[in-house]
């Protein structure tokens, strides 16, 4: 299939972004990730006006939606390149852009370190051995699946990289730790949770359906609010 691919490119952090359009004979069963690898393996690829394309910079790792590296805006929606098949774009254009909520480093690569910084800032860890209950096991499993890809932050109306609201990429991992903290150790994290998550969340739940891992984000928010804000601790851990 003939595919028209538009890529928002940027040489480095400070240079101006520009759009480049490439016409390419692609396979409908290939993913956007495979396409990018193929484009980069072409020896002398040129765009639709004959200009050289060169290496298109992007991040990937697992190629099976287990690592979150390849999150980008695909036709305006934040998705994983490895989980998006080209057949979807058979009648139109494929537009690839870097996530907008994070500083662009180069082409489709963005600097997502703020997610790591935020989890550090709220103190997302245990100080004592985990309190594990049968009731919380499913929640802990589901929360532990977070890819830290950033798709949820991209669609969040309240999150900005330099803001004080940390979004689902923080409250999903926090929901696990909150459920496993001993009651007497619940000081820093609940306090930071109230400040950096609860008070900034507009409850739009735009994060609910965007998660590439299919995590039930709303449930994590409800549980964490219960523990950190409403003090309705899990019965079994009392």
């Amino acid at each position: 299939m003939k595919l028209i691919i538009e890529i928002l490119r940027q040489k480095d952090r400070t240079s101006e972004p520009y759009r480049q359009t490439i016409a390419y004979e692609a396979l409908p069963d290939d993913t956007v990730a495979t396409l990018l690898n193929k484009l980069n393996a072409e020896p002398a690829l040129t765009d639709t006006v004959g200009a050289p394309v060169g290496t298109i910079h992007w991040q990937c790792s697992c190629l099976q939606k287990k690592c979150g590296a390849c999150a980008m805006r695909i036709n305006g929606t934040p998705r994983l390149a490895c989980d998006t098949k080209l057949g979807e774009f058979i009648k139109g254009r494929l537009c690839l852009e870097p996530l907008r909520k994070f500083p662009t480093v180069r082409d489709l690569i963005v600097d997502r370190s703020v997610m790591m910084d935020n989890l550090r800032a709220i103190g997302n860890w245990l100080e004592q051995p985990a309190v594990q209950t049968e009731k919380a096991a499913q929640l802990c499993y589901d929360a532990s699946r977070c890819l830290q890809c950033g798709c949820c932050l991209e669609v969040c109306p309240n999150f900005t990289a330099d803001g004080s609201f940390y979004g689902a990429a923080a409250f999903v991992p926090a929901s696990k730790v909150l459920s496993q903290l001993k009651k007497e150790n619940r000081q820093n994290l609940p306090q930071n949770y109230r400040k950096n998550i609860y008070s900034g969340c507009g409850k739009s739940l735009s994060c609910q359906d965007i998660c590439p891992a299919g995590i039930d984000v709303e449930q994590k928010l409800v549980n964490s609010n219960a523990v950190a804000v409403w003090k309705r601790f899990f019965k079994a851990s009392q």
Partner: protein, 525 residues
């Protein structure tokens, strides 16, 4: 004293935590965040003799299964340490919040390949991801305290090695292209050599093999490069091989091939004791054998239709979702066509029992190191080997770092190069073609010949390094004139006791090295 850890997967995190818990600072360097490491992809579980399933399991049993699975090519003292420390490691992960299912005796365990007892602790089919999430949280605590300094988008530019002594590493920030010199000891935890078989492995594209190549160039010894694990149950998807976890067979999945129009459960007939759960090298070789039989269909299927819905729902729900998503097959209702694919590299950077490489103050752990798995790795031992190896390497680096004193300043290295995509693709094509499950001298010589011809197309120093590593892999496979574990030679089909040695590569020289004798470990119990 300064210690830098290259790689932030399970082995690297384990090393960082070991140092931080003793109040020792380290740099934790990775090309991408820990969430992108291959460790998150590990599915089936982690082995430890917890004896919670009423089968009288013992550390000796775990040791015996691991040694036998590796066809007696692993360092027995290292394996003993691995098995002895395994129960404490798994219990620690429970305390770190990994939601292992539990019964009245403790953590529930499942059957896994090559093991006679249920010894594999698991969380559904996402064990690696669960261990990683908990370990990332724990290491984060020490990042906040200033003991672990993350350099999360950095690549190795140069290893500083002279006269077999390592004085540090220079890394490049891939976001800014700035060089960062890091004098001191170095622990490599950089994963397996997927980059030699691009698109043909179940693992991450980020394990490029470039560090193994850099080690070879710097005279660091590599070992057992011919031992490449083909996992029996993989399926080709866009750009890679998709793993169908061994947990599928651990929970009752069966392999069959059509024979005279009927399903033939060949593993059950040929191996009545362990059946579908023979070690991976045996299963993969049998699969190649049956698909080539004239009265058999050319495709092996994994039949999971006999697995009960309770098991699917509680233990394999993620595996079912994955198969339905990628293959459009519901494994509850229909068998899945599978074939062997490259999954793990038993060989890598040579290390001793304490995870020292052949170069002083340079250590290696995890899949990049040649340790624990001999000629064939058992499922569930890689997560364990990564955690225990990282811990051991860090402890050795710590002990030996005290004597090393302050490292000298590092010289500014040459600019950083990556292997070019086209050159890497050519190397991969040659190795994939000539290093399948069954090998022979003619084809291995042809591989070396084609690799020689490729040299003139190299574009940069990284291409040449990668080529040298590829030549070493093919060279090791040619050098070992026997069949053992994952290395099967049609021209030397028998296992030869004279070859019960490690294949060691230093620069372009290949030689055998004796495996250490098992010490008396009675005092350990």
């Amino acid at each position: 004293m300064s210690i830098s850890i290259i790689g932030a997967g399970l082995a690297g995190l384990s090393a960082a935590l070991t140092l931080a818990e003793q109040g020792v600072a380290c740099n934790l360097i990775s090309a991408q965040a820990s969430e992108r490491a291959q460790s998150v992809m590990a599915e089936g579980g982690i082995n430890a003799c917890l004896d919670t399933m009423g089968e009288n399991d013992s550390i000796e049993n775990h040791f015996d299964d691991t040694m036998r699975g590796g066809v007696f090519l692993a360092d027995p003292n290292a394996v003993w340490g691995l098995c002895r420390n395994a129960p404490a490691i798994v219990k620690r992960f429970y305390d770190l919040g990994v939601p292992f299912p539990v019964n009245e005796k403790g953590i529930v365990q499942r059957s896994f390949g090559g093991q006679k007892k249920k010894r594999t602790a698991f969380v559904k089919s996402s064990t690696g991801k669960m261990l990683m999430t908990s370990l990332i949280d724990e290491v984060r605590k020490y990042e906040a305290r200033g003991l672990v300094t993350r350099l999360p988008h950095h690549r190795v530019q140069a290893l500083h090695i002279q006269n077999d002594i390592c004085s540090g590493v220079t890394v490049t920030d891939s976001f800014t292209d700035k060089s960062v010199p890091l004098p001191g000891s170095v622990i490599l935890a950089c994963g397996g050599m997927n980059g030699l078989f691009e698109g043909m492995t179940t693992g991450t594209t980020q394990n490029t093999a470039e560090l193994a190549a850099l080690c070879l160039e710097n005279g660091v010894e590599l070992a057992n490069l011919e031992f490449i694990q083909y996992h029996p149950t993989t399926v080709g998807i866009s750009g890679k091989r998709l793993l169908i976890s061994e947990a599928a067979r651990g929970e009752g999945g069966r392999l069959f091939v059509e024979r005279n129009g009927k399903p033939w459960y060949f593993m059950e007939e040929k191996y009545p004791e362990l059946k579908n759960l023979m070690p991976r090298d045996v299963v993969s070789a049998e699969m190649v054998s049956v698909v080539n039989m004239p009265d058999c269909g050319g495709q092996v299927y994994l039949d999971m239709t006999g697995i009960g819905m309770d098991v699917w729902n509680t233990r394999l729900s993620d595996l079912r979702e994955q198969i339905m998503h990628y293959l459009d097959i519901d494994p509850v209702k229909k068998p899945v066509p599978v074939s062997p694919g490259i999954h793990y590299f038993m060989g890598g950077i040579w290390v001793d029992e304490a995870h020292r490489t052949s170069v002083k103050h340079l250590y290696a752990a995890g899949e990049c190191a040649c340790q624990y798995h001999g000629a064939n790795r058992l499922g569930g031992n890689s997560l364990l080997g990564a955690v225990y190896g990282g811990k051991t390497a860090a402890q050795t680096a710590l002990n030996e770092g005290k004597e090393a004193g302050d490292a000298p300043a590092l010289k500014t290295p040459e600019p950083y190069f990556e292997a070019t995509p086209r050159f890497r693709a050519s190397v991969s094509q040659i190795l994939t073609r000539y290093l399948p499950i069954l090998r022979n001298e003619t084809e291995l010589k042809q591989a070396l010949h084609e690799l020689d011809l490729l040299e003139k197309t190299a574009q940069n120093p990284a291409d040449v390094r990668l080529l040298r590593l590829a030549q070493a892999v093919a060279g090791c496979a040619l050098f070992r004139k026997e069949s053992r574990g994952s290395h099967r030679r049609t021209d030397y089909p028998e296992t030869d006791s004279a070859c019960q040695k490690q294949t060691v590569v230093k620069h372009n020289e290949i030689f055998y090295r004796d495996i250490p004798e098992l010490k008396n470990h009675e005092a350990d119990n």
